[in-house]
């Protein structure tokens, strides 16, 4: 064998380096506090808000009532037939993410994403139990002993408590919150409620407590999509290398000119995903801007201008390097792509609002009997049978007039009234917030041919409302 063996190839697997971000205060940290408080508040409080809908409907402001197939959101009530409203909301959420990305970059990742909010929360618990970054690093390296076990047990119990509370709050959106809470603790809730809480407790505990930044870097598709959406006009957390480099601590008497970066490492110490922003824009950067807070503080202490790390577009960085003035913020946010997204987003929103405002709270479906398609009566008349489904989407009983359109000479009656009462119209009372089945027989004189038939509904209350359904009247000899 020859003496020189080839060097071993580099390992393909990178082991995770645990991240222990250091506490930092600053304007972006305070903004994060505010957004976290609002986001968690909305999540935990919303199911407990009440909204009076009268005696026939639940009084929970936001409720996804799967059992009764209703979706309530404050004054809006959506039936399964109107699910396109929910689809519209989801599309708005999607376009909204594009809009935010095009306006202010990865702000969703940095501030509002649940993974970010819960990871941030858990990292504060780490600091609360174990101390700040250095203490955490020491504890991590320390051998297992009573002290470490106690601290880990306490910390993980708090994780578990928060995780359980997170899962517990989720199921409140699907049933009356106070009732479900009572049922949950007395063991009477549906098995699916316990299963959901268990699954969400586990995912919160695992993703928030242990996976953390790996979710953003390896698991989440959104950073990939975002990196395709970012361009030289996007707001990014940017290290201005033209100003900072060459970095280093000025040694006394050294003649070597140095940049503004003193290589203190604070920007990497505070980073919740453990990256070095000075390496440039990268997928691990969720643009939480904590490194801006850190660097601004150091620059302030050194008496140098702030903004060595700053929200800036690549385009502006270059302009600034050449000494040109930066683009005003207004222009950074309102560029053509943002306007297109905003237009699209508002168009969907306005269309939905318009549809919501003008929708009828009355609907009709008709299923014609096909076996047999028609009946000959002893008088020679032809009878067809239909099952009408009247949907009264108001939370109160309504008088509704059903009438026939087409088929001259035809008259109808129901399975609860006698043939002798047959007429071109009939009036029924539809129960509140329900679909009312109505069995209707229509008889037409002998010799009537097959032809189209239309059922029409008209609500007889002050609000009114109409609906209709086109069907057929079948007769012998027809097609």
């Amino acid at each position: 064998m020859n003496a020189e063996a080839p060097p071993p190839p580099p390992a393909l697997y990178a082991k995770r380096k645990a991240v222990f971000p250091r506490q930092i205060d600053g304007r972006f940290r305070r903004l994060k506090w505010l957004i976290m408080a609002v986001a968690l508040g909305v999540y935990y409080v919303t199911p407990w808000l009440r909204w009076n809908r009268g005696p026939y409907s639940p009084d929970q402001a936001v409720l996804v009532d799967l059992a009764h197939r209703r979706f309530y959101m404050f004054a809006i009530e959506i039936w399964p037939q109107e699910f396109y409203f929910v689809a519209g909301l989801l599309i708005m959420a999607g376009v909204g993410l594009f809009l935010v990305t095009s306006a202010v970059g990865r702000a969703w990742c940095g501030y509002a994403c649940p993974q970010t909010v819960w990871t941030d929360l858990f990292q504060h618990i780490d600091r609360f139990i174990d101390g700040d970054r250095n203490a955490q690093l020491r504890l991590q390296a320390a051998p297992w002993g009573p002290g470490k076990i106690a601290k880990r047990a306490l910390k993980w119990s708090i994780y578990l408590g928060i995780a359980f509370w997170t899962g517990g709050a989720w199921i409140m959106y699907f049933a009356d919150a106070p009732t479900l809470t009572r049922q949950f603790w007395s063991g009477q809730a549906a098995p699916v409620a316990y299963a959901t809480v268990a699954v969400l407790t586990f995912t919160t505990f695992w993703l928030g407590g242990f996976m953390r930044e790996q979710v953003c870097i390896y698991m989440c598709p959104w950073p990939r999509i975002q990196s395709a959406m970012l361009d030289e006009k996007s707001l990014l957390v940017t290290y201005k290398d033209w100003r900072g480099e060459p970095r280093g601590k000025a040694a006394k008497g050294s003649e070597k000119p140095l940049g503004d970066c003193i290589d203190c490492g604070l920007c990497t110490a505070v980073c919740p995903t453990g990256i070095d922003i000075r390496e440039g824009s990268q997928i691990g950067c969720i643009t939480c801007a904590l490194c801006i807070d850190a660097c601004d503080r150091v620059m302030g202490q050194l008496g140098r201008p702030r903004g060595l790390i700053d929200y800036a577009t690549l385009e502006d960085s270059e302009r600034e390097m050449k000494g040109e003035p930066a683009t005003p913020h207004r222009k950074l946010i309102w560029h053509p792509r943002t306007l297109v997204y905003f237009g699209l987003w508002s168009a969907i929103g306005l269309t939905m609002l318009f549809l919501l405002g003008t929708r009828h709270h009355l609907a009709l479906n008709v299923a014609k009997d096909r076996n047999p398609p028609y009946m000959l009566l002893s008088s020679g008349e032809v009878r067809n049978a239909y099952t009408l489904k009247l949907r009264n989407m108001e939370g109160r009983p309504r008088r509704i007039r059903v009438s026939l359109e087409g088929v001259p000479g035809a008259a109808m009656w129901t399975d609860e009234t006698a043939r002798s009462t047959s007429a071109r119209t009939l009036t029924v009372t539809a129960a509140p917030d329900q679909t009312m089945p109505l069995r209707v027989y229509v008889a037409a004189p002998a010799g009537t041919a097959s032809q189209p038939l239309e059922f029409e509904l008209e609500a007889l209350d002050r609000e009114g409302g109409e609906a209709s359904y086109h069907t057929r009247f079948d007769a012998p000899g027809g097609d």
Binding site: A5, P8, P9, D369, R370, N371, P372, M375, L376, L377, S378, S379, G380, R383, A385, D415, A418, R419, Y441, A446
Partner: protein, 305 residues
């Protein structure tokens, strides 16, 4: 094999064979995979022990728990029966005429009747109860024996012309042509008359000749105006509904060789509650008639025999 060696970049042993210089690493299975595999083996052993598993000559091993799919079905059927018990008991205690006054019970009866109809009745009457030639349509308003709840129940219980049931609906039309009671020409004339009653033919000379024959032979059962009689199940000849066809040839055939359709007496096969539910279902199909009421006692059901 002889050629096993440690592959340097990976540090893993090779399988020892090579094709055109291509070798295969003997990479051990991941531990999680092995553990899952062993867990599956343990589960399979437990499964074989507690569940029926190994097929033998006549039946399989029963398993410790004694579970069978047939037993589970029986359990579920028992449970369903238990759930329906209260409704069935209420139905059994309710005279059929009073059902329309109890909408919930009526609904349950119609639903139960629909299910029983699918099993017992569709073979002749069709899945939509529309019948076919010789098998009456149950949706229409034409009833041979009567269309109120009690009458339908009686017809289902005792059947029509069913040998072996003393209370069965009984009547027989003579085969006028076949038995030589009427000549072929007379039958033809009667057919013309009958069709003129239903306004299918103009009342011509043949019909006028047939009228006399009809009066002599047919009015006993079918009535002077041909409106039929429910007491003997004689069909109404003046309406638009023809069980055996309304063309001239069809009517001639019916008069020549009389029809005598048979329906089984279901009282011997089905329990009274099922029959009650069937009657309610048939009644609900759109042609049901109101129960007869004695004047002055509007809401009191007819006396039950």
């Amino acid at each position: 094999m002889a050629n096993k060696r440690i592959d340097e970049p990976t540090g893993t042993e090779t399988m020892g064979h090579e094709w055109d210089g291509i070798e295969e690493l003997d990479t051990p299975l991941p531990r999680w995979w092995l553990l899952t595999f062993y867990a599956c083996i343990l589960f399979a052993i437990g499964y074989v022990v507690v569940y029926p598993a190994i097929p033998l000559a006549t039946r399989g091993t029963p398993g410790l728990w004694g579970w069978t799919s047939r037993g589970q079905l029986a359990q579920e059927m028992d449970k369903a029966k238990g759930e329906h018990a209260a409704t069935l008991a209420a139905l059994a205690a309710t005279p059929i005429e009073t059902l329309p006054g109890k909408p919930e019970l009526m609904q349950a009866a119609v639903a139960g009747g629909r299910a029983a109809f699918r099993v017992n009745c569709v073979q002749c009457h069709g899945s939509g109860a529309a019948g076919s030639r010789g098998y009456p349509n149950l949706n229409d308003d034409d009833w041979l024996w009567g269309g109120d709840l009690r009458t339908i129940e009686t017809t289902i219980t005792h059947g029509v012309r069913f040998p072996g049931d003393d209370a069965t609906r009984q009547s027989l039309m003579p085969s006028f042509g076949h038995d030589g009671i009427l000549s072929a020409a007379q039958v033809d004339d009667v057919a013309s008359y009958v069709r003129s009653l239903a306004k299918l033919e103009p009342a011509g000379a043949a019909a006028q000749r047939g009228a006399a024959t009809f009066a002599a032979n047919c009015v006993v059962c079918h009535g002077a105006e041909g409106k039929g009689s429910r007491a003997v199940g004689a069909p109404n000849l003046a309406d638009a509904i023809w069980l055996y066809g309304g063309s001239h040839a069809d009517v001639v055939a019916s008069v020549t060789n009389a029809h005598a359709g048979v329906m089984p007496a279901w009282g011997a096969k089905l329990d009274p509650v099922t029959i009650k539910m069937l009657a309610a279902y048939v009644h609900s199909l759109g042609g049901g008639e109101a129960s007869p009421q004695t004047p002055g006692t509007a809401n009191v059901p007819a006396p039950v025999k």
